[in-house]
Amino acid sequence: MEQKTKINAEEGKQELVITREFDLPVELLFRAHAEPDIIAQWMSNPYATVKVLKFEGKKHGSYQLESTDAEGKVVFRSNGVIHEFIPNRKITRTFEMENAPYGVQLEVYEFEQLTDGTSNLNMHVIYESGAKRDQVLALPFAQGLNMAHNRIQEILNTLK
């Protein structure tokens, strides 16, 4: 399958860019970033359920998310403030994982209509430092390794 989502993270920089083309009109792409119940749906995955505790989609607004694991235990909370909220065009916001050493990141989402039924998202994320960016980048990698390791451990345990 073609890789639709692209990441550009240049060595030594404290930023990265995520781009993705959607088979959706720009209005629907924006709505998916502006309505709490929809955000919760697509941010959740089989390992983590995301709940939107607070969401004020407007300039000077703020938001808070909560992530729980399969057993319902809170894994982490995150929050941020919204600086710009221009429907179907742009959202500028901060993002911070609570009680985590990754600092605050600045996120600029640019929504662009390509055709009536397709659109593009350009997500520019700026971190406090290059080292912090790399730590955040490494998180899913480390989690993946840990999950694989846990699975290996589970299999080994059943063999004992």
Partner: protein
Amino acid sequence: MNLRRDVFQAIADPTRRAILLLVASHTMTAGAIASNFDTARPTVSKHLQILTECELLEQKQTGREIYYHINAQKMKEVAEFIEPFRKMWDDRFNKLETIMKEYQSKK
């Protein structure tokens, strides 16, 4: 012969990948690593040597024991390092697309 090992060659081997998975969670001695594999101990030692030579693993001497740990800096050079992060966003965005298509057809 002591060739400088290539990182990509190092991670191409399934046993070496499994070793990296093990050591990623915590530092381990060669003995502890070897106990996870059916492979002969010298074979595991050889794998450890290759992973150390290409700097994916680092050795640290504590008393009489040598502990192995992951070199995160070097892991970054592996293209796959960024892949789980990309995959995480790709999965999210695929889901977003599916959900919004339902909204679209409801309209």
